[in-house]
Structures are given as structure tokens and as C-alpha cells.
Symmetry: C2
Subunit: 220 residues, 2 copies
DNA sequence: TGGTGAATTCATCGCTTGCTGAGTTGTATG
DNA sequence: CATACAACTCAGCAAGCGATGAATTCACCA
């Protein structure tokens, strides 16, 4: 039952035309620790963030991770399941927002914008956020994650602060502001938003958030 | 050289199992007028708007249009070129914005929001706008169209009205507000934005636009 | 020390994709 | 009436896709 494969472990005379680019492995388990699962997830986040779900092939992810395509399926089953794993947003955003909401009411809007931007600027959180945002337009699960995340974390942070009429709508509009900002800053790249400092953006958008927190003219 | 094909025009005894669903055509040019080109473009807009560029196949577009797949290539060459044609945004938006900007300064922000929403509500303009917005996250051309359109039409409408520091940024932030609104209203569907009346949205977001038109606190 | 199971590669299957060329039918032009 | 071109369908190709199963190698535990 253990007959050798069609190509036995012949040591490959290695003609000089093959520069052996991505370090071929002969097959079988590699020695040492197994961080492959995480490598695949990182590679997936990177690819999904860059090109979206549909335009990213499992083969490409595997290549980025430096492993065989079958390993991706071995660990995550299907491309879809891998994608869902890649959507897991790091917990930084809710934390950051809650922290921003803790302080004084003056400058609250500005602090929220800064907290939002800071998480996006974080290199370790960014691929997951980018994946979510980029795929939200085409993939239902990504849209759902974005929805829950936006409403959830904002409500959690500002739930005690915001009162009055139409609280749900006003929270949604704050989320709209922040999502819209990320969209034009990182995805559509609407000049000059990508090159504007967080401070200036906070100065411009802080009052907008404040306006939703305390509307000057209650809706008629 | 004109030998008949393998299946000659045999009239197909038509066994009752074939309900002949999409009205088969025998081949060759159809009599009467040719609106097929436009039908294909409409079908493309519909499909692209619904599922995005990558998830839409040429075959599906052809099926939606009720024609053979090869016709799509006959008229538009490649899927990419067809997509670019589908992105052509109807001229209504610049018009509507200019019209809104014409009136009094009081309530200007609110009128802009209403104009923006009205164009989106228009059934004939919607597929193209939806296609653009949905694909902007994954397709460079779509992002470029969205960019040019947003900045261009808003600057054209408000160029004379908006003055002071950082005009470019403030215009971009107005565009961000409107794009973000369309995103949460039509794509991500962030509750309760999709079900909110244009009037209430205008009441909530009009002041935001006004704030960008006339910042109360000039940026430090 | 032997055996079980996890990690890894390879080869491949079945399907869908965008696209093409050949052939057929209609319309228009001389 | 003949020629030419535009519209249209059919059949199929080459490439890429997601996914699978067998074979191989390693780690670990009894």
C-alpha cells in the first residue's frame, strides 16, 4: 500500500535554468513550529484587502503565504470560511471609541474621529478593516460585519452620552460619517483626504459628530 | 463553402417537455429595429449594480438581455469595455446639484442633500449609480469615475459659494458626506438609514453640509 | 519503538470564465 | 439582382477557478 509516487524522491539534478524562486519543499510536514495557519490568514487578509473577495484566488493566497493551495483548504475548508475568518475585526476599535467617549463632553466629536483614524493607521489592524470595507459593497457577510461593528461599537461607546429624539438614526449617521471618511481616505482616495493629517480631519469632522450628538435644531 | 451545419433547420418536433422558456431564436439577424445594443447595456447595468463586476459573468448579462453571449462581445468587445460603458453616469446629478445651489444660502445644505437623494431615487439613473458605487471598492475605473464625478459636480455647483481656507478639503468632505450616505442607505443598508425619509435625512445632514460651507471654527 | 494523527505537497477533477471563428440571416446599396 | 455589411447563434477553446484524495513526512504519546 505504500508504493512510491510516480516521481520518486529523485534529487533533481538541478539544471542552472531553475533559480528555485520560492524555496520548494519536497512534501510532508515541516520540522519545527507550525505558524502556517496564521500565515495563511495573514496572506488572505493582505490579498482580500488589496483586491476584494472575488478577484482573490485561493491559489494567490497560498502563493502569498508560501504554501501549497491544498493547505488553505486543509485549514479553512472553503474560501468562504477563510474569508469569514479574515473579517474578524481586532477589538481595538470598540476599545478606542470607548476610551474617547470617556472624557469631557467638549471635544468629544474630535476625539472620536481621532480614535477612528488611529485604529485605521495601525498596521496590524488595517488589513482586516480594509478587507471588510472593500468587500462590504459586494459581499453580504462583509456588509453585515461592518453594520454590526459600526452600530455596535458606537452605540456602546456613546449610548450614555446621546439622548433625545431619533437616537438610532443619529448613531447611524455618526457611523456613516466615519465609514464615509475611511472610504474616501483609503479606498476611493478622494483628493486631498488621503493626505490630510488626522488633526485637521478631526478639526473638520469633530463638529459634525458633535452636531449629531447635540442637534442644534431638533428635527421638526 | 456554404455547406449546412451539423443540425440543419429541422423544425424541431417540439416534445412537450420543452416549455421553450426564453424564446429561442434560430440564428441570423432579426427583423425590425435593432435596440439590442441598448438592451445589453441595460442588462449589464442591472447585473453589475446587483452583484458587482467580478461576480457578474458575460453569460449572465447576455441571458438577462435575452441574447447570445457572443453578441455582447460583438457590440462591446470585452467585458471591461462594456463595464466602462455601464459606468457612464447620467447627467442628472450635476444638473440637480447646480439647481440646488442656485437658490438662497439659507437651507442650501438641506437642498443639496435632497437633490442628491432625488437622483438616487430616480429609477432610470439608479443602476448606473449603483454600479459605480458598488464597484468603486474593487475596480479602479469605477473609483476614478466616482472621484471625478463627486469632486467635479460638487465643485461646479458650489465653486462660487464656498470660500476661505482649505476649499479643496471642504469640498471633498461634502462629497464624503453624500457618498457615505448613499453607502449606508443603499449598499450596506445600515438601519434605519434606508427607511428614513429624504426630508429627515436632509434635516439631519443639511447642517453638516452647511458646516463645511461655512465652518464656525476656522481650522487652527 | 511503534503507531496515530497532523502538516504538507502533488496531481487532478469538474466547472465556469472570457473570448473567438465560422456560419446564417436580415438590411441596405449599387 | 448581386454584393456587402451588420446582426445574430452555435460550438468550442484555453485558462483559471475551487475543491478533493492520495501519498509523504514529521511530532508526539503510549
Amino acid at each position: 500500500m505504500t508504493l512510491p509516487r510516480s516521481t520518486p524522491p529523485e534529487p533533481q539534478p538541478q539544471p542552472p535554468e531553475t533559480p528555485q524562486p520560492p524555496q520548494r519543499h519536497p512534501g510532508g510536514r515541516r520540522p519545527g513550529e507550525n505558524r502556517t495557519r496564521e500565515q495563511i490568514l495573514d496572506a488572505a487578509r493582505e490579498c482580500f484587502a488589496e483586491r476584494g473577495y472575488d478577484a482573490t484566488s485561493v491559489r494567490r493566497i497560498a502563493e502569498t503565504a508560501g504554501v501549497d493551495q491544498a493547505l488553505v483548504h486543509h485549514f479553512y475548508g472553503t474560501k468562504e470560511k477563510l474569508f469569514l475568518n479574515a473579517l474578524e475585526i481586532p477589538l481595538r476599535m470598540p476599545e478606542a471609541l470607548a476610551e474617547a467617549a470617556a472624557g469631557d463632553r467638549v471635544g468629544l466629536g474630535s476625539r472620536i474621529v481621532l480614535a477612528h483614524l488611529r485604529v485605521w493607521e495601525d498596521a496590524s489592524a488595517r488589513p482586516a478593516m480594509m478587507t471588510t470595507l472593500r468587500s462590504a459593497a459586494t459581499h453580504r457577510s462583509a456588509a453585515a460585519v461592518l453594520r454590526d461593528y459600526a452600530k455596535g461599537s458606537i452605540r456602546e461607546a456613546l449610548g450614555k452620552v446621546i439622548t433625545g429624539e431619533d437616537v438610532e438614526l443619529r448613531i447611524a449617521l455618526i457611523a456613516t460619517t466615519l465609514i464615509g471618511l475611511s472610504l474616501t481616505r483609503h479606498l476611493v482616495r478622494l483628493d486631498p483626504v488621503p493626505d490630510t493629517s488626522p488633526q485637521e480631519l478631526a478639526a473638520r469632522l469633530g463638529p459634525v459628530i458633535d452636531l449629531h450628538l447635540d442637534p442644534v435644531t431638533p428635527a421638526a
